[in-house]
Structure formats: C-alpha cells, structure tokens
Symmetry: C2
Subunit: 158 residues, 2 copies
C-alpha cells in the first residue's frame, strides 16, 4: 500500500469538489484552477517550513531547486523528480515522468485538456515552497504525453 494514498484520494476529492459543475464556463474554470493553485501554495508553504526546520542554509538557488526535486518531492509524492534542467538564467524545468495525479487518467489525447486542473495544486505546492525559501517564482506545467509532465519554474528577480 503506497503511503501517499490518503493524500492522493483527498486531492482527487478536492478537485471534484471545486470543479463539480460540469457545464461551468471558461472564466469559472480558470477561477477554479486558481483556487487549487492557491491551496497548493499554502500547503507548500507549510510543508517546506517543516521539512527545512533542521537543514543547513542553502548555498544558492540551484541548491534550493535540488532540495525541491529530492526531499520535497519525496515527501509529497514518494518519488523524486526524474530530471532537472536549467538555463542558468532563472528558468528551471522539473520533469516528472509519472505524475501521480495524472496517472489515474487515460493517456489519450482527448484528456489533455483535463490536465490543468490535476496539476494546478502541484504548481502551487512548488511556488509556495520556493516562496518560503525566499525565491519568488512563476510555476507552470506542460504535458505532452501523460502521465509525464514538465514543471517550468521562472524565478522572479526581486
């Protein structure tokens, strides 16, 4: 039995609850995705605070990103990010080859448009975690073949 099951089930219910009205328009849809992102943000803030309570200070931005890819991801999803890339100018791409919240969906192309609502919470998680580590960012998700996903983190210089 995977340890993250209670979290995953609760996450699914949350998505269902927030986006339940099937015939909601585009504006409503966007608003729901924002709500999920904000909830993820707050959960990410709480989690990173607890996770880093006893760690040493991070050397630099890259060091922080590595922590997100390893420790933070493992805490939430019980696996690490599969690939981390950066252009060394403030853009990081975190690739997860098997995103848990997507792995329940069929891989067919017709479900691609459903993906954003399953990823909004996770984008928020990353943004919240980074914010509490002093790194302001914009996090977006890009899916080409499910259940793989690339999370793009654009650091906002302050």
């Amino acid at each position: 039995m995977a340890d993250e099951a209670p979290f995953q089930f609760l996450h699914s219910e949350l998505i269902q609850y927030i986006t339940k009205s099937a015939d909601s328009g585009d504006t409503e849809n966007a608003r729901n995705i924002t709500k999920l992102e904000i909830m993820g943000f707050r959960v990410g803030q709480g989690l990173i605070e607890r996770l880093t309570k006893d760690t040493v200070r991070f050397k630099d931005e890259l060091d922080i990103m590595k922590f997100i890819c390893k420790d933070f991801w493992t805490c939430v999803f019980k696996k690490q990010i599969d690939n981390l890339r950066t252009n060394h100018q403030g853009i990081y791409v975190l690739q997860d080859n098997k995103v848990r919240s997507l792995s329940q969906l069929s891989a067919g192309k017709q479900y691609l448009e459903q993906a954003p609502k399953y990823l909004a919470f996770t984008c928020g998680l990353v943004r919240g975690a980074l914010t509490n580590l002093g790194v302001k960012s914009i996090v977006t998700a890009e899916v080409s073949v499910m259940p793989a996903c690339k999370f793009q983190v654009m650091i906002q210089k302050m």
Copy 2:
C-alpha cells in the same frame, strides 16, 4: 518528518476553504460539516478498497472493526486507535488519544465548539470504509478533552 504531513496540511486547507466565511449561520455550518463528512466518506471508500485488496475475508463485524482501528488508522494517521470498546450489540467506541487534526488546536474549552469541523472528515472516513466492507453505520465524534476523541460507531442492521 512525519509522513502524514502532506495529508494533514491538505486537510486543514480543505476545512479552511469550505468554512471560510467567518460569519456563516448555523445552517451553513451544518451544511459545511456535511460536505466534509461526505468527502471523508468517499476517501474512506477508496482507501479501504485499496487496503483490503489482498486481505482474507473478515470473520465478523468485530474483525472488521479491528482492521479499521489498526491497518486503516495507521494508513491515514500513522498510529493506531488507542482503545476499542463495544457493547456487543452494534455499538463500538474507538478512542484516539491524540487526534492529529485536533492537535493543532489549543486544548482550552473555548475551542471545543470548533472541534466538529475538524472531525467531520474523519467520521466520514470511517463510515465510508465500513460501508465498502458491507457494514452500514452512523459515526459520531465526541470530544471532552482535546486532543483526545471518541468515535462512536452505531451499526445499522440492514
């Protein structure tokens, strides 16, 4: 770092999200608690299905309750129920001396009235799990001293 942290943080956010309007009336309050209970119910259904996938058939009702107290509780809360009592006539009392969702609240009596919204999801969890094992029930929670709680399960004979 406790494994259940992502679940707990998400649960807190959910409560916040559902009960956010501070000045909501009693009816609204009751409705929110019902919503939380129903979400717990559905999560409980999903979890128990996965948890019992490879277990042998349960001997009787008591055997099922023991499974809830041990395996099911451990899966969600990383601890077992501390005490299980029954009158052997369809009433079971599950005592948890440290309910995770309550342990964030101060123990003062003035917070007791806040307790129901933190317990509704858990009551639903138990009811959902039991339902999928073929046991229809009513589950209520009683708090006298936080963060301890007694969950009362009344089996509904079908």
